[in-house]
Symmetry: C2
Subunit: 356 residues, 2 copies
């Protein structure tokens, strides 16, 4: 099956994949990922405040999907702005963008998409035209994301051998993007080429995106999955059970340091220890050339209750202090290659990433 | 406070620690650890079959505690044996011992304690006398374990600096032993000496012994705790937040390779990567000189439902395959020192462990 021959609708039909988000009847229709895999609930969001809440509560997550959701959020915000002049309108729009950008600090795609949206708004001639171009731009960002994922999937699939057992982390799938996925896009492309792959999926505590989302997404397509706890990856790597690791990214600094879901750094160190290649798959919208290294990436600290509780039930004694950094930084020297839609990049990243 | 001046009862009173197990009214009284930290339920076990079930279901766990529980199990089993001759009695006793030894394959303390019990039985002159010495021997194994833990705790505490932040894994505390604990025994001894310590406790999926047992045990004594998910240890190690790692062991091979709760190998690799010392605390009853290396240690594979479910609730799509190795092996080169009641041992372990 060649996915480039299919329209988006055909693609999502063939792949039995629920759309992460889509624009429909003047609203942002969003699959509520906190309810998966047990229930498929769609939210219909009519205001930017609702979009901001959905992002904060991780009903939509994954760096590329956050960029698309924020773009639609700003398009919705623009519709509610009442302003006498274009300047006043753009001022109010900037405040809405700031509010959306502040929902989650680590993934750069949020601010990347919002900056792109504000730039388009600034060149439009009048207020009705701004509102129209903002919606068009959001739709373009969505379409470009699917296309970038398909491209990087195809490029990355050359790195996956027939019969490979692949370790991933969290969910870098179609649910984390506008469609197809980054790390899972690579796996999906290899599978579509007829390569027999098997994926080890760490559950990804605290919010279990691996168990709930990745295991679900892959099994929908019939790709063989083995679910493990996060603490088992090292064991299987050390025993030679894993051929390569492929993860997504929330922000990539100019030198190739990668911020991604907490636990990614651990997998990178373990892969290096076992001589297993460690790949990061992300569209170029995740690369932040403004940051010299990963030390400058802000790490979101989420509520301790995500760690002390599970599905509303306490798993630790009352009053126990818990830390909850949602991301970690993997230094570039652990990364074998970064797979983007514009090519597969290797060291020296500081020289090669800016050239993309 | 000097713990060696206290009787066992005073000790458990001062430390507000529930006894893991004790012999009372001709039964083994056992704290059901699957119910902690929410409920303190005691089981009264009157047969070896009940003891075997409790071990299998992990109502009692931790290598040293398993040795003591198995010894009492065999003493209970002996009471129910009807035999015409001493030979017949010892045959039947050996079968009970085999059944108890098979409950969990990785921790060596089970077979260590049962072998010791069978040896004592063989030299007793008649059946009533065998039954009596078996109970006495089980009580001796229990008392020796508490004493060994206190000793190794004192020896290991020299390695802990005032103000240290310590990472542990799973529960190697008084709940994993007859009392005081191994890794937590070292931390407890340092704390009793007035050293200000802070302990990072990984929750330890799938069965959450860190969140449920270690966080509870340490907070009962007022020792500061930060609960984390297993995937966060690498992040905190890489940021310089951890001064040393101290874990327990389920079996130690002659060359110093250590089998311990799944995730231990990962922590050892991460500690080495950050230049942080990695200590293993265990009584000599956990050392298995019969095994040349960790490759020979059997790794228990438990039910996949422990991984696909969390606190009784499904977290993954129905029918997903899961792996569930309960232990991993940490090669000796990652281990800075092994703390035993007979001394702190460093490389070359193959030479020094047999000398203990």
């Amino acid at each position: 099956m060649r996915c480039e021959l299919l329209s988006d609708e055909e693609f999502f039909c063939v792949h039995k994949i629920m759309k992460t988000l889509e624009w429909k009847d003047n609203r942002l229709r969003l699959l509520d990922q906190t309810q998966l895999p047990h229930e498929e609930v769609y939210l219909e969001l009519g205001s930017y405040q609702e979009v901001a809440s959905a992002i904060r509560e991780m009903r939509v997550r994954g760096a590329p999907a956050l960029g698309v959701a924020a773009a639609y959020g700003l398009a919705l915000g623009a519709r509610s702005i009442k302003a006498a002049s274009k300047e006043d309108f753009l001022d109010q729009l900037a405040r809405v963008a700031d509010e959306l950008a502040a929902t989650r600090p680590t993934a750069v795609n949020l601010s990347w998409a919002l900056t792109r949206m504000k730039r388009i708004a600034a060149v439009a001639s009048n207020i009705p035209s701004i509102k129209a171009v903002l919606l068009k731009e959001a739709q373009l960002i969505e379409a470009e994301d699917v296309e970038a994922n398909r491209r990087l999937g195809r490029l990355g699939s050359d790195l996956v051998e027939d019969g490979a057992t692949i370790l991933t982390h969290c969910n870098a799938g179609s649910l984390a993007t506008a469609g197809y996925g980054t790390a899972l896009g690579v796996i999906r492309a290899a599978w579509e080429q007829g390569k027999r792959v098997h994926v080890f999926v760490p559950e990804t505590r605290p919010l279990l995106q691996g168990a709930r989302l990745t295991a679900w997404e892959l099994s929908q397509e019939g790709i063989p999955v083995t679910l493990i706890t996060d603490s088992m990856a090292g064991h299987f790597l050390s025993r030679g059970a894993i051929d390569c690791v492929i993860v997504g990214a929330d922000r990539i600094a100019r030198n190739g340091d990668v911020a991604n879901k907490i636990g990614t750094y651990t997998q990178a160190v373990l892969a290096a220890e076992s001589g297993v290649p460690f790949y990061v798959a992300a569209p170029t919208s995740t690369v932040d050339l403004a940051l010299a290294s990963g030390e400058e990436i802000p790490i979101e600290e989420r509520r301790p209750e995500e760690v002390t509780h599970f599905a509303g039930r306490a798993i630790a004694p009352n009053g126990i202090k818990a830390a909850n950094p949602a991301f970690d930084v993997t230094p570039h020297q652990y990364i074998t290659a970064i797979i983007t839609e514009k090519g597969v990049v290797r060291e020296p990243y500081a020289e090669r990433l800016p050239k993309l």
